[in-house]
């Protein structure tokens, strides 16, 4: 095994759940509000040491989730794993995320993933119950994150990186 490998990972989830903010937080440690490129993808990279290997994450932040859209599917092509992001203050974003995950699994097979319930700083508006079936099913795969306070952001990316090394 080489000492450095590169891996493609994608952020999957509804518009506005905080994908871009999470990447910005992780990659640059700056909380930047809105970022969209014309092509609907923003790419960042980050080196993560995993054991004696360094994984270079090539992070694809994709705007929108139009599943029917061919270009959306082509953006996912070849990813080694993905972060599934939902907004904890809007329960339906979790349902949508689970649907996306399902269709990804159908098309690309089982891939390593980590689930993020983002906006954990907004406790008062929290909607997703702790005993949501999806969370009970894979308790270790879900993290409550906040791009606002940085909570669990690095952990989420690195948990996924560890399963991609």
């Amino acid at each position: 095994m080489a000492t450095e490998v590169t891996r493609k990972l994608c952020l999957i989830g509804d518009f506005g759940v905080g994908k871009t903010s999470l990447v910005n937080r992780y990659v640059r440690e700056v909380f930047d509000d809105r970022y969209l490129t014309t092509v609907g993808v923003k790419i960042d990279t980050k080196l993560v040491p995993v054991g004696d290997v360094t994984v270079k994450l090539v992070i694809w932040d994709i705007a929108g989730t139009e599943e029917a859209n061919a270009v959306y599917r082509s953006y996912l092509r070849g990813m080694a794993g993905f972060l599934l992001v939902a907004d904890g203050t809007r329960g339906y974003t979790l349902d949508n995320a689970l649907k996306l995950k399902q269709s990804i699994t159908e098309q690309m097979g089982e891939l390593p993933w980590v689930g993020l319930l983002n906006k954990a700083d907004l406790e008062g508006e929290w909607e997703v119950p702790a005993d949501h079936p999806a969370l009970l099913e894979n308790p270790d795969s879900w993290l409550k994150t906040s791009a606002c306070t940085s909570d669990n952001v690095q952990e989420a990316f690195e948990q996924l990186a560890a399963s991609l090394a």
């Binding site: 790419i43 082509s74 070849g78 080694a80």
Partner: protein
Amino acid sequence: MSAEKRLEALRAALLETEQRELEAIKSDLDKLRAELDEIRPTPEHLAPLMAPALDLAQGAQREEMAEALNAVVAEGVKKSVHADRESFAEALSPAIGISIRKAIAGALKGFNQAINQAVEYSLSPKGLRWRLEAARTGVPFAQLVMRNTLPYALEEIFLIHNETGLLAAHATSGEGSKVDSDAVSAMLTAIQDFVRDSFSVGDGQLEEVEIGGRVVWVISGAQLSFAVVVHGTPPITLRQDLEQLLIDMHAEFNEQVAGFDGDREPMAPLLEKMQLVVADSLSQARDDASSGDEEGQGKKKPWLGILVLLLVAASLGWFGWQKWQVGQAFEQARLNLIERDDVVLLDWSRSGDALAAKGMFDPLLGPLLAADYLPAEFASKAQWQFAPYRSALPGALVAEKRELWAVPADVSLFQSDGWVAEGRASLAWVQQMRALNLGGMLAPSVDRVEVNPDEVQRWIDERMVTGVSARLEGEVLMLVGDVSYAGEAVLSARLQRWHREQLLLFSEVNAEALNREVDGQAKRLSTNIQQQKLAFASGVVMSPQGWAAMEQLADDLNEWLRVVPSAEEAVLVLYHHEEGLSKRRATKVKELLQQRGVPESLIRLAVQKQNDNAGMAVVTLKFTYGALKAFDIRL
């Protein structure tokens, strides 16, 4: 026997058999050779052996065989082309067609490039300098352009894994670019996908991008692609060479290519090949560059920093500015749309100019019309399906309340310990809000709403009783004019209602300047009453004049009670002596007045101490009343 002879004899004895066999084989071999010389192999003999024989041929043998076959095959092809051109062309076209097309396209591209540059340079300062130089030296301008533009440098080659967009190898001519080559690689892949999806131009491949004096070529292979960054004008053959290199690499390193998973170590031999090409072009370029291009290798780093950003615009430019703008217009519309907090976008799909947008919006936060978001030519074609819903956003709540209470445009509405309206509004609206609040319905406080004073005055004027006018001074309602006592009653009731229902806000009524008929009436009546002479004829029987006076007194008292509201303060005193007829007469008058409807409370009997006119036949009276309250209404 010598020792030698003995050894010979021993050997003969020992090897005799072998010797004989050897001789037998020799003669067999001679015979076989003779036979073989006579045999001529027929095709039937050879046919089954050809294929295995060709397969078995190895190394030098194989080469010999190829050489031997070469002339024959060439001759054969020549003959068959002559004999059956059609089917031969058909058989070859899949292979040759592609290369021909590519070669022609490449050549045209190069040609165009040269022409473009000639045109461009002919107009630029540099071009003018060359023109002068051409005039001075007699060298043709075109030749000068070619000489000055030909130098090129192959700066970088990215080898990109098509499926993942990961960088498989990266060869550079210098220290490499500042930009993260892994990010460039992924971005280029994304752009390719985007371009392929967004434009149906040919097979939708982005092949070339020009940017800041560089050309970025994208050369696609089955599993790997090259992105090549060239500075200057490369020879046409460079692209072809790279296309070939990519094909060769696929073939030669099939295993590494197929197994690529983001680990670059196994790709080292591919990198080596790419590095060679770069180094090669570098030396070639250096040879050519002797004629001097001022912008040499020195300043080559910062440009890649903006490559990724500009690449988007440039690649789209390649496919048509127009289409890009269409895309931009739609994208801008989408961004504007989702700017609205209430808008929930459920679908946004576009094919060409036709858009299908679906979602929800809160009508309280404003209408959502395609025409407001899209240019007219697209708006009419768009399927624009937005269903209304209640968003419960703060803005929506305010909007909802504004609608509920018909808050005028000049009035702002906000929450601060309940709803508060502030601004300018009509009196009618303010009155309705006060009425809602009085009725126990939640309505905004309008204490901070200003109403035009002229409008208030008009409202008052329309409702004043004749002869009276009123004016609001702060919290005091000033009344002026003459008012009948009937009008006064009406006015009083009216002002009480205005106050009670807060149709006008005042805490006091000032009627000092109001001439009231009541005051005049009271004076007249009290004078009349005072003048009556209640004369008796004899005993308790009144004289005819006295009787008439009593009747008049009763009428006047009753009138008083009717017109003067503060009647309880008035009193009619009838005087009499201690005892006897005088008292009986006064009592009689009281009785007669009561019989005529005058309340007992109004009449009082009192003893007159003076005794000077004992036996008088007239009951003396006195009518008093307290100061009449100046227009007293209970607010």
